[in-house]
């Protein structure tokens, strides 16, 4: 276990997240793709803290910020999905194509 292997695992998680977020049609599954990307980001930040930061606790604070971003993304995302469903009866990305050129 070194920085390179940790970052490679994080790269795989971020790639899976990008794939999922772009391929899924439902808003909730799309949000799971974003969560998966942030999962990889958390791992990468923790890896940088553990191997290059000389144990400075500020690196861990960055992980806590990322976790807060994840929670906010989920809460606001679900609220938006509910609001979009109320307004348009759409639970899929194709359902709100009115802004498409």
């Amino acid at each position: 276990m070194n920085l390179m292997t940790v970052l490679l695992v994080a790269a795989a998680l971020i790639g899976v997240g990008v794939w999922g977020a772009l391929a899924q049609q439902t808003f909730v599954m799309l949000m799971m793709g974003i969560e998966m990307m942030l999962n990889g980001v958390i791992l990468a930040v923790a890896g940088f803290w553990a191997f290059t930061g000389a144990g400075l606790p500020k690196g861990q604070v960055l992980v806590i910020i990322t976790m807060a971003v994840m929670a906010i993304e989920l809460a606001i995302g679900f609220a938006l999905v509910t609001a979009v469903y109320r307004a348009r009866q759409a639970d899929m990305t194709e359902g709100i194509g009115s802004l498409k050129g």
């Binding site: 790639g15 794939w19 606790p57 992980v63 807060a68």
Partner: protein, 224 residues
């Protein structure tokens, strides 16, 4: 020299990535939720291996609660109730897979070729205590800002998802007005068309009660 930590790291990494891939391959949104939880738990375990014990365990607790909430939403928006219908809920699969590979390759190139300083954590140091002092000391502004932001998030999500809007019924306050008096408030090309949706490989959708073209707003409120 391969130690226990390396073996554990490989096991957790493979499990995290495999369950992560499973999230977008399974047929059920509930299964996807639990696979995402498994992926997060494995990353939490890797964080513990990296000596970020507090963060690893916090991730474990936080994600367990978050995925339970997510499971509720998955049931609400489920495309394939009880797994009775075959489900294919992807679009543009080739483009998405290519984008995922490119993104992973981009980060992997950095991981392999970039030159980072080598300053590992001292295994003897008390990282949890240092983090606590940092959070309530030098980084207290960051910590408190996160708390206030989460508070604002709660207020925002309640307002966004509330059924009653500022101008009365939420359906009235949040949608565009009709183009001509008495008309439907949605543009014609935006009306939900079940036939078109079926054409988009939506086999699992329940179309009953979704034909809102004729439905008035009062009925809709009872349904939801």
């Amino acid at each position: 020299m391969i130690g226990t930590i390396d073996v554990a790291f490989v096991v957790f990494s493979v499990a995290a990535v495999a369950s992560g891939c499973g999230v977008f391959r399974v047929d059920s949104m509930i299964r996807a939720t639990y696979l995402l939880l498994a992926s997060f738990l494995n990353v939490g375990a890797i964080l513990v291996l990296l000596l970020a014990e507090y963060l690893g365990v916090a991730l474990l607790f936080m994600m367990t609660a978050e995925m339970i909430v997510m499971g509720l939403f998955m049931v609400m928006f489920m495309m394939n109730p009880a797994g009775l219908n075959p489900m294919n809920m992807v679009h543009q699969p080739r483009f998405a897979a290519a984008a995922g590979v490119v993104a992973a390759a981009g980060v992997a190139v950095v991981a392999v070729f970039a030159d980072f300083p080598d300053a590992p954590v001292d295994a003897e140091s008390d990282t949890i205590r240092e983090l606590g002092i940092e959070l309530l000391g030098g980084s207290m502004l960051v910590f408190e800002s996160i708390g206030v932001t989460l508070m604002a998030t709660m207020v925002c999500s309640v307002i966004l998802s509330s059924a009653t809007g500022r101008f009365g019924d939420g359906y009235e306050g949040s949608v565009a007005p009709a183009l001509e008096p008495g008309g439907d408030h949605r543009p014609a090309d935006d009306l939900y068309d079940p036939d078109a949706a079926m054409g988009h490989s939506m086999h699992g959708m329940d179309m009953g009660g979704m034909d809102h073209g004729e439905m008035d707003h009062g009925e809709m409120e009872h349904d939801s």
